[in-house]
């Protein structure tokens, strides 16, 4: 058997890419899903993702433990989420505008503190070589699966289960569908939204840590190319269901891997257009799933972007 598998390399590379590239999408979109189900939108997750990538990398470098780095990134994300949730508690503050401000602020802080960490090498998160049964290096590369990817799958199912079956999930949904109903039930609407946003921020921070600690696996100022923002759009496409967010993330990961996969078999013209594929796909899905005349089914009633 030769190592040359010809055009079969393309779907295989897309599969591998989907697994590698989708993990940050899974964490950010499931986190944003929780936030949006409580009736708020946090556009600042792009900044949170970048700051998570930086802080995770820095802590992993200093402690030598990528897991401590991931934890630090989650904590940093939690703080950003709390900041967003806290500011949005004030009357007449626009959650979308605050998200844009936090996007700039988070990115700025990450670049500010991240400057000394562009050169050093931090330890990577471990991967499980699930492709050991194959002798083909392409298969082995595609099935080299990071622990966080598996955690992300578990997270998506757990979040869906939680929203459907637990008291906390019900509380979040009530707050997201009708703040008035929630208040009538004696629920503190702002507190639920604050912690839903904080949880979303923490998950986005983990997504950032994956970027800098596994794939692409280094910290630099171009580490995120809008994944945080695409994840927010993806939640709309996924109809506010964490499990759908998982599937959508895989789709996006595959789209993102299209360019490099085609390049690996020699198709190099239009590289930049393939690079734009995930953005175009996001936009296309947004256009296809939005409607002018009716509210989107299963959308939280309190969400500002669908009003």
């Amino acid at each position: 058997m030769t190592d040359d598998i010809g055009l079969w390399g393309v779907p295989l590379a897309i599969l591998g890419g989907a697994i590698r590239v989708s993990t940050p999408f899974i964490f950010v979109s499931v986190g944003e899903c929780l936030t949006e189900r409580s009736g708020r939108i946090n556009l600042g997750l792009e900044g949170t993702l970048v700051f998570g990538a930086m802080s995770g990398y820095a802590v992993a470098y200093h402690t030598g433990s990528p897991w401590l780095g991931t934890l630090a990134a989650a904590f940093a994300g939690l703080l950003f989420g709390l900041l967003h949730g806290f500011i949005c508690k004030l009357p007449r503050v626009n959650d979308i505008a605050i998200g844009i401000a936090l996007m700039i602020f988070g990115t700025g802080l990450a670049f500010f503190f991240g400057k000394p960490y562009v050169q050093p090498v931090a330890p990577d998160l471990p991967a499980i070589p699930l492709g050991f049964w194959s002798s083909l290096p392409q298969v082995q590369a595609a099935l080299n699966i990071n622990v966080l990817f598996i955690a992300g799958i578990a997270l998506a199912f757990a979040a869906s289960w939680m929203l459907k079956n637990t008291r906390i999930g019900l509380t979040i949904r009530v707050v997201g569908d009708s703040a008035d109903a929630a208040r009538a039930l004696g629920i503190n609407v702002n507190r639920v939204r604050l912690w839903s946003t904080a949880a979303g921020g923490a998950l986005a921070g983990i997504g950032g840590a994956y970027l800098s600690l596994y794939y692409p696996g280094s910290w630099n100022e171009g580490i995120s190319s809008g994944q945080g923002l695409m994840a927010v759009a993806l939640v709309i496409f996924a109809r506010w269901s964490p499990v759908n967010c998982l599937y959508a993330s895989l789709l996006f990961g595959g789209a993102g891997a299209l360019g490099p996969a085609l390049q690996s078999v020699g198709v190099s013209s239009g590289y930049y257009l393939f690079y734009a594929a995930p953005y175009a796909l996001t936009l296309g899905l947004l256009v296809a799933t939005s409607s002018r005349t009716r509210a989107m089914p299963s959308a939280p009633g309190e969400l500002s972007i669908i009003k």
Partner: protein, 369 residues
């Protein structure tokens, strides 16, 4: 807050000299200024925590941004694209649309200008400049107007759509500049063919700043007139206040949305054209310099008022112009200005919560009969 002030005032007797409208207008100016100051103070505290002197920082910013004739030239040259980029946020914002993808329109405007120069380089100077301006405005207008159309026709969220389109625009620019429109002579940095010498836009005599500044200021004034003094602007403001009420009145909310987004996009496209024709000389990756993102902050600081955009843009142009000196003298990273901008942005949005509720000038109002 205002209720209490209203109730308490007659008893105390207002000895003031302002009408309530004037008092509210002055408050509307003071509040963003106070927020700007608060953001700058927060950043000073941040610097102090890091062991850097905030005083040195602001002195350097003043020196490098506004201290000398040379620094003013530098600042005003940066203000030109910022003025136009801010309009791309402010005009749609008056209809209640949050457009944050102006960067895409700037980039495509620049590419359109470069494309004109590549396709019809034989045109005489003035005709070439007009053709570039038209192409750039059309590219930017279609790009952002498309966001308005998607919003109107399909209900697509304009904030997310515009930012996604900004990424697509940058990919499109790279594709064109490295492919179809590439000048084979540009080796290290793929660019379009250099503009013919007669197509280059010169400086405003005596100022040393290219004509983009004058166009930017005129565009800001024209936008202010459009919004505040015309029936279209009035209709747009009603749509921004309450879409349903506007539709019941028979106002064409959708057409206004498309028109205002397209106009904003056209201005941003012009910004790209000036970057190509007055600064770089050809279209390349330098077009994505982040002017579109700073423009968002400027528009919010100016509360989407065309006239207020002018000083706000000059201020932030000065901040950005000083970035290099601050980096060298204080050993701070280049993202320092980005942190400052983030803090000011948050402070400005926080001040929204006080708008019209914290009537700190009520005591200056005339007694009401």
């Amino acid at each position: 807050m205002s209720m209490q002030a209203e109730l308490a005032a007659p008893a105390a007797g207002r000895a003031g000299f302002l009408s309530e409208t004037t008092a509210r207008r002055i408050e509307a100016v003071i509040l963003p200024l106070a927020a700007l100051l608060a953001g700058m103070i927060a950043f000073a505290i941040f610097l102090a925590f890091l062991g850097k002197s905030p005083l040195d920082f602001y002195l350097l910013v003043y020196k490098a941004g506004f201290g000398t004739a040379f620094s003013w030239t530098n600042t005003l040259a940066r203000a030109a694209p910022l003025l136009l980029a801010a309009l791309c946020v402010a005009l749609p914002a008056r209809l209640g649309l949050v457009i944050i993808g102006g960067e895409g329109a700037i980039v495509l405007g620049g590419v359109a200008a470069g494309a004109v120069a590549t396709l019809v380089p034989g045109l005489p100077g003035p005709a070439g400049i007009i053709a570039m301006a038209l192409a750039a405005a059309a590219a930017g207008g279609l790009w952002i107007g498309g966001v308005g159309a998607l919003r109107h026709l399909r209900g697509v969220n304009e904030t997310i759509a515009s930012l996604l389109l900004a990424y697509i625009a940058i990919a499109l620019m790279n594709h064109l500049v490295e492919g179809l429109l590439r000048d084979p002579a540009s080796l290290n940095k793929p660019s379009t063919a250099p503009l013919p010498e007669t197509w280059r836009i010169g400086e405003i005599p005596g100022l040393g700043v290219h004509w983009g500044l004058a166009v930017g200021i005129l565009a800001c004034i024209a936008s202010w007139v459009l919004i505040e003094r015309t029936t279209w602007g009035f209709a747009a403001r009603i749509v921004g206040g309450n879409v349903r009420a506007a539709q019941i009145q028979g106002l064409p909310a959708g057409l206004l949305a498309i028109g205002f987004t397209a106009l904003g996009g056209a201005f941003a496209g012009l910004a790209g054209m000036f970057e190509v024709a007055a600064v770089h000389g050809s279209a390349n990756a330098s077009l994505a310099a982040g002017y579109g993102y700073t423009g968002i902050l400027i528009a919010f600081l100016a509360r989407h008022n065309g006239l207020a955009i002018i000083p706000a843009a000059i201020l932030f142009a000065g901040f950005e112009a000083s970035s290099g000196l601050v980096q060298r003298r204080l050993a701070l990273p280049d993202a320092t200005v980005l942190v400052l901008e983030g803090m000011v942005f948050i402070a400005i949005l926080l001040s929204d919560t006080l708008q019209d509720r914290f009537r700190f000038l009520a005591f200056l109002e005339r007694r009401q009969k």
